[in-house]
């Protein structure tokens, strides 16, 4: 109890004596204390014995206080990239898809590669929030919010490409079944239309899920702003005008919180609705990339016409999505104070294990495609794998084959990044080292981009008739548009970290040991 404020931490904050950034004691055997191998011991989910109030202070601090000095320069850079990318899209719209490197043979290239790449990245968020929720994996609580945000932003980037790749962009509304004067309706037997429904449903449901999870946390931010306003403290928005930042916060977070007041009668319905959303999101997340894979699998092009595609795409999406979650959260936990208390080495290790599993599944699928191409005895299928994808021209010459694959390097980048690099996670030393995990997750992100490039471009560039064979070369517009979507993605993510509750506070509080109403040694209450 202090004279300035009844709460010790708030008082300490006001007089400057509170040092929230407590270092974490590292142990050679257990890392930060969470890498316990003994299954009878439960590693802590949150470090430093944090109280409920500490969690509120840490998480709300991320969006109430100014971020570190790195934030603004990074934000300036990525939002510039986003702006340049948007200019490229406008250039495409006013000129036509000819500004891309597409041609008659390779008529889907970077546009669809990027679409599938981004939509795949969007899969980890819902997997973490829905499937791990149903499996009662408590460690999900400190990564689910950021992963869900990442899902939404990745789907925003993904959704851009089908919209702008159609050529006559002003006709894009016709993908939706909207009554029109010509009485024309969409073709429900086309997988491209299924894709429209799958991606738009996925975006909508992910958004609802994300928003619903944030309602209690919005209410926390609202109440803190209201309390500070009652004490008439806190900075103003612009100098000389008596509009405090907290007034805006109380209004905006208050509006978004829907008047949430933490009532148990409300929590009861909330938890039911949440588990139902998790229940429908689980098949949804599996369906979305399956349906994306139907775009290819239902065609008759060798290399695309494969029944393994749906599970292979889903595993790849989870693989790439987790890599992106790690790629964002590992730098974030270095840059933000106390984030290492919430995202422990155990969290990173668990995610590294998922990368190892899904990466091996993807590797198995690559092998299986080869096996079936040979086992089916289909000449076209095996030619795609040998002459379009795998065989470098110099080796082909050595073996006396008629030709090699001009895109062999793309194929081998994919194999080394996706299949070989995650294998280091068999060793505990690597899957508990943030640096190693970060390097592998970046490699996986690159590899997953090349996977989609290999599937799309190498299958298309040399199909049945040698007379129509061609090559694809990206133009500057192709490249800058893709960099632009990376800019959009990171811009949105930085804004999320700055203004929204980056961790599910109510869920983290719920998994703290003191949240248990029946503690193991409290039979004398």
């Amino acid at each position: 109890m202090s004279a300035i404020h009844p709460d010790e931490i708030t008082a300490g904050r006001l007089d400057g004596s509170y040092k929230p950034d407590r270092p974490i004691a590292m142990d050679p055997a257990t890392g930060d204390g969470t890498l316990i191998d003994d299954p009878s011991k439960r590693p802590p989910l949150v470090l430093n014995n944090r109280s409920f109030h500490d969690i509120t202070e840490i998480v709300c601090g991320y969006c109430e206080q100014r971020p570190g000095g790195w934030w603004l320069p990074v934000f300036g850079l990525v939002s510039t990239l986003a702006g340049v990318g948007t200019l490229m899209i406008i250039y495409l719209l006013v000129t036509g898809v000819g500004v891309w490197g597409l041609n008659n043979q390779v008529d889907w290239a970077w546009d669809i590669t990027n679409f599938v790449f981004w939509i795949g990245i969007g899969h980890a968020g819902t997997l973490i929030s829905a499937i791990l929720c149903l499996l009662k994996q408590k460690w999900r609580t400190s990564i689910n919010r950021a992963a869900e945000a990442m899902t939404i932003f990745a789907v925003v980037c993904a959704g851009t490409y089908p919209g702008i790749h159609v050529g006559r962009v002003w006709m894009i509304w016709m993908v939706f079944p909207i009554p029109n004067a010509n009485a024309i309706w969409p073709n429900f037997r086309s997988p491209l239309l299924w894709d429209v429904f799958a991606v738009s449903t996925y975006f909508t449901v992910s958004l609802l899920f994300w928003y619903m999870g944030m309602i209690p946390d919005f209410a926390t931010l609202r109440d803190r702003a209201v309390l500070r306003l009652k004490n008439a403290s806190g900075p103003t928005v612009v100098p000389f005008i008596q509009l405090r930042q907290d007034t805006l916060r109380a209004w905006i977070y208050g509006l978004l919180s829907m008047g949430w007041r933490f009532s148990t009668r409300h929590w009861q319905n909330y938890e039911k609705a949440y588990i139902m959303l998790a229940g429908v999101s689980t098949p949804l997340v599996l369906s979305v990339h399956s349906i994306v894979s139907f775009d290819f699998a239902t065609s008759i092009l060798p290399g695309w016409h494969t029944t393994i595609f749906p599970p292979y795409f889903v595993a790849g999406a989870i693989f790439g999505g987790f890599a992106m979650v790690l790629g964002l959260m590992i730098p974030a936990r270095e840059l933000y104070p106390n984030m290492k208390d919430l995202i422990t080495l155990r969290h990173l290790e668990n995610m590294a294990k998922i990368i190892l599993v899904t990466g091996s599944m993807v590797g198995f699928a690559y092998f299986m495609e080869f096996f079936i191409a040979w086992y089916s005895g289909n000449q076209y299928e095996s030619d795609v794998f040998v002459y379009n994808r795998m065989m470098p021209p110099f080796l082909a010459e050595m073996f006396g084959l008629s030709r090699g694959a001009p895109y062999w390097w793309a194929y081998w980048i994919m194999i080394s990044c996706n299949v070989i690099s995650p294998q280091v996670f068999w060793m505990k030393r690597f899957r508990t080292s943030p640096l190693a995990i970060f390097i592998v997750s970046m490699a996986v992100t690159v590899g997953m981009w090349f996977e989609r490039f290999v599937i799309i471009v190498t299958s298309l560039h040399r199909a049945f008739l040698p007379g129509e064979w061609g090559m694809f070369f990206p133009t500057a517009v192709d490249i800058i548009t893709f960099i632009g979507t990376i800019g959009i993605f990171i811009t949105l993510f930085l804004l999320f970290l700055r203004f929204l509750p980056a961790f599910a506070m109510s869920e983290i509080k719920n998994v703290l040991p003191q949240a248990n109403p029946h503690p193991p040694h409290a039979d004398h209450h």
Binding site: F197, T201, V205, M212, W267, Q268, F294
Partner: protein, 188 residues
């Protein structure tokens, strides 16, 4: 309603919404809620920064229709989606595609599923709002400075004055015996 609600006023003359008490921990809160439940109150609620495990039983709350409604609307949505595709493909705009039968159901499966999921998700969220009477941006409790700390780390039980068993002194006494602290009247 046979009996009109009795109106209580504070010393400053404001109408009393209820009496609130703070509890130390989730365990104390659960214990207190059981006591209030056993005393037969109906208009009261427990407020905690996170859903405390087992609190529904401690409060004696019953399940409601939300899951059933969500399930029915979700399946209904899937049915509407299926019928719509059937109508478009066989009636509204019957077009020959690869010579396949117009009424083959297999190609309609993905969209039927997606529409079912969409309806389920909206019903779950909007149904949660409806059952909770949200949005409600004004509430007597939200005016109470001490109550706002619930969103951080406080645990509160509030018995409302609208409860037929409510009596300012006896209700407070019950909360005190159940382990409550820091009593306060909440003004309407």
């Amino acid at each position: 309603m046979s009996k009109a609600r009795k109106i209580y006023k504070t010393e400053s003359g404001e109408v009393v919404y209820g009496v609130m008490a703070e509890f130390d921990s989730p365990a104390a809160l659960t214990h207190g809620a059981e006591k209030v439940r056993d005393a037969g109150y109906t208009k009261w609620d427990v407020y905690s920064p996170f859903p405390v495990h087992g609190m529904e039983e401690a409060m004696g709350l019953k399940n409601n229709m939300l899951p059933l409604i969500t399930g029915v609307v979700g399946l209904g949505g899937a049915g509407v989606g299926y019928l719509f595709q059937w109508w478009v493909t066989t009636q509204g705009y019957a077009t020959i595609v690869q010579g396949k039968p117009f009424d083959a159901f297999q190609p309609w499966v993905p969209v039927t599923f997606e529409i079912g999921v969409l309806f389920t998700a909206f019903t779950a969220l909007l149904g949660m709002f409806a059952f909770n009477a949200l949005p409600m941006w004004y509430h007597p409790l939200l005016k109470k400075q001490r109550f706002l700390r619930v969103s951080d780390d406080r645990f509160v039980i509030c018995v409302e004055a609208g409860d037929p068993k409510f009596d300012p002194d006896r209700t407070r006494e019950l909360l005190e015996k159940s382990g409550g602290k820091q009593f306060d009247f909440v003004e309407e």
